[in-house]
């Protein structure tokens, strides 16, 4: 096994080693040039010499295995790998952009900035979970914001992938990951729950919003364990200008029990994108840590903390989908509304992890002939909001599981598609026009356009009457 690090100018398997850009405990990173991949590249070389930590070998193996399996804009593209037996290295895309840690130093940030960065990160985390992977080391220095605003997760040395043996399982006695950000279940060695990343996402949101880390930076095992029962100071106690809804989202992510957290990172992104739809609870309003009773209860639960789920990460996330019901509130059609409700009832049961977003698209106020446009617009919105709420009433979904959205747009199909993409909708339910509307069929109805271009599953519902 090779232990030496290359010098700039050296050529490894056709890659010319350039400037050293990072030197850490586990390895060294160089810029490299070579067989043209169409994007700039870096080479990561693990430290494997005598006296180097044994973890470097395993985390190298893990990163190579996981990175090769991942696709999409939220991870660096994998290029090549060298074997541990001769020259271990990993060549991947050099992600242009800025590290999220640049923003953390400037906290507390304005709410709009927290939402922008947090949504980008939540979207990236969810993209990973959909591919059966869990990062398990989400922290500002492992996130790069591309110039376009997209977040990219880097460093998969501690990751878990449901399709591959977890080489880090039961490997090292002490918890792995970065102390300020890792979840309580990671502290006790559980590595297969995607909601661990949701917790870390909450810790990052907390830091962006307050400038402080929710649990500090504990150096001892007992300091780490305390997050199993002790909740952080509410963000509003540190920064009073943090809105209640944002505190609600942050503390919802930071629940000690994974079952109490958001079921998916997509749901976090959804709430960040729709502050007016966040169902406020005591979490959003509290000004101090929870009382002794709640802490004792968590402490008792933590003592028996051993849930080893057999669910793979992808299956867990799939059990918490976002369903969009497109309701045409401008046209009252009770048969169609009932057919839509029947279809939605099969997908969303009260109390489950599924989220329902009820959406209607109305004509923009500018197209209305009205003397007082703003006033007309507001009353229009309220009217359609009332219709949406009424449509969903008999589904009997608790607050927090259902939300209502009136979108003003002249092209309903385009608006629904944009909404589905933005909010990582998993399943879109929409009514078909009545069969006798031949002209609509000829010109292409909203439902045909939506089902042709949707990024998700679409159910087109037709009333049988």
């Amino acid at each position: 096994m090779a232990g030496e690090l290359p010098v700039p100018g050296a050529v490894i398997d056709g890659f010319r080693v350039g400037e050293r850009i990072h030197s850490g405990g586990m390895g060294v990173i160089y810029r490299v040039s070579g067989p043209d991949a169409g994007f700039p590249m870096i080479m990561k070389i693990p430290r494997l010499g005598p006296g180097e930590p044994g973890e470097a070998v395993v985390t190298f193996e893990v990163e190579r295995m996981v990175l090769q399996a991942l696709r999409g804009p939220h991870v660096p593209r994998f290029v090549a790998a060298g074997d541990l037996a001769d020259q271990p290295y990993l060549v991947m895309e050099w992600v242009e952009g800025r590290s999220l840690s640049e923003w953390v130093g400037k906290g507390p940030l304005a709410t709009g900035e927290v939402v922008r960065l947090g949504s980008a990160l939540a979207t990236a985390v969810h993209a990973l979970h959909l591919q059966e992977a869990i990062h398990l080391d989400v922290k500002p220095s492992n996130v790069i914001l591309r110039p376009g605003g997209e977040a990219v997760l880097i460093d998969f040395g501690l990751a878990h992938h449901g399709h591959y043996p977890d080489l880090l399982a039961e490997e090292f006695r002490r918890p792995m990951g970065s102390a300020p950000y890792i979840s309580p279940e990671q502290v006790v060695g559980i590595r297969n729950d995607p909601r661990s990343d949701v917790f870390s996402l909450g810790a990052v949101l907390y830091e962006l919003a307050t400038g402080e880390m929710p649990y500090g930076a504990p150096m001892t095992p007992s300091g780490l364990r305390s997050r199993l029962w002790r909740d952080p100071l509410p963000p509003r106690a540190l920064v009073p200008s943090v809105p209640e809804w944002l505190q609600e989202i942050v503390l919802h992510c930071l629940e000690a029990d994974p079952d109490e957290r958001y079921a998916s990172a997509a749901q976090v992104a959804f709430d960040l994108g729709h502050p007016d739809q966040v169902a406020l609870t005591d979490r959003g309003r509290r000004r101090r840590r929870t009382g002794l009773g709640a802490r004792l209860l968590r402490r008792v639960r933590a003592a028996g903390y051993e849930h080893r789920s057999l669910l793979r990460p992808g299956a867990r996330v799939a059990a918490a989908p976002i369903v969009l019901a497109a309701i045409a509130t401008q046209h009252t059609n009770e048969a169609r509304n009932e057919a839509l409700r029947a279809a939605v009832r099969k997908l969303v049961a009260p109390g489950e992890q599924t989220r329902l977003a009820c959406v209607t698209v109305i004509r923009p106020a500018t197209e209305l002939v009205a003397a007082d446009r703003d006033k007309a617009a507001t009353s229009q919105r309220i009217k359609h909001l009332v219709l949406l709420r009424h449509w969903a009433e008999s589904l009997k979904l608790p607050p927090g599981q259902v939300s209502y959205h009136v979108i003003e747009a002249s092209d309903p199909a385009a608006a629904l598609l944009e909404y589905a993409r933005q909010n990582q909708v998993d399943h879109l339910v929409i009514g078909a026009p009545p069969r006798d509307v031949t002209l609509g069929g000829l010109l292409g109805t909203v439902s045909t356009k939506v089902s042709a271009d949707a990024p998700c599953t679409v159910t087109v519902v037709r009333a049988r009457s």
């Binding site: 591959y164 043996p165 039961e170 057999l310």
Partner: protein
Amino acid sequence: MKLALLADIHANLEALAACLAHAGEQGAERHAFLGDLVGYGADPAAVVDLVQAHASRGAIVVRGNHDQAALEGESETMNQAAEQAIAWTRARLSDGQRAFLSGLPLLAREGDMVFVHASADAPSRWIYVSDPLRAAHSLEAAAGASYVFSGHVHEPVLYFTGQAARPVAFRPVPGVPIPVSPRRRWLAIVGAAGQPRDGNTAACYALLDTERATLTFQRVPYDWQAAAAKVRAAGLPVRLARRLAQGE
């Protein structure tokens, strides 16, 4: 080189044929049969002939407890249905087929690979490698080998070792090539081709790619209705037909 690993065929010709065809499409050049060619199913003679033909072309074959029982009589560890099937099987094997089975080794070794029906630790005791401790014993007995391939336990599992005292179990996902670096040690239970028991009726086998050092666990849907009908027609215990229909 791609090596197809098949275990627990149990005289299920439909399952064996489906696995061999699938492995062929995947580019398998060699085969290893990890024991229990017969028992339970209705086609012992045809299955033994097919495996023997592969053996003559260089396939690795080891003996399982059902093969042994078909030669020597009931084993005390067998349940009633298995015993009945063995008695039925014995009457259907020719001298040549019996000679082939009795000539099989309990354990085969090739390079850094060990092939054994049950545990490499006392192969003739037919120990079920059903937990990390037993996997550790089998791996210890196969000292020097990076890979131990077995059957006997009908559900596919991959055990691997790291720095921890005991191997860790992983439930593989069908069709995903798993990197299996020879720097570690691996014990793969490839799953039953002829009598799956994890609630999925599809036949199990695994494919080792020695150049890429990857192991892919496969599931192959096969005509279990035909295999189950033969079991019933042969007068074998009905329970054995039902197992194929339920995959358990």
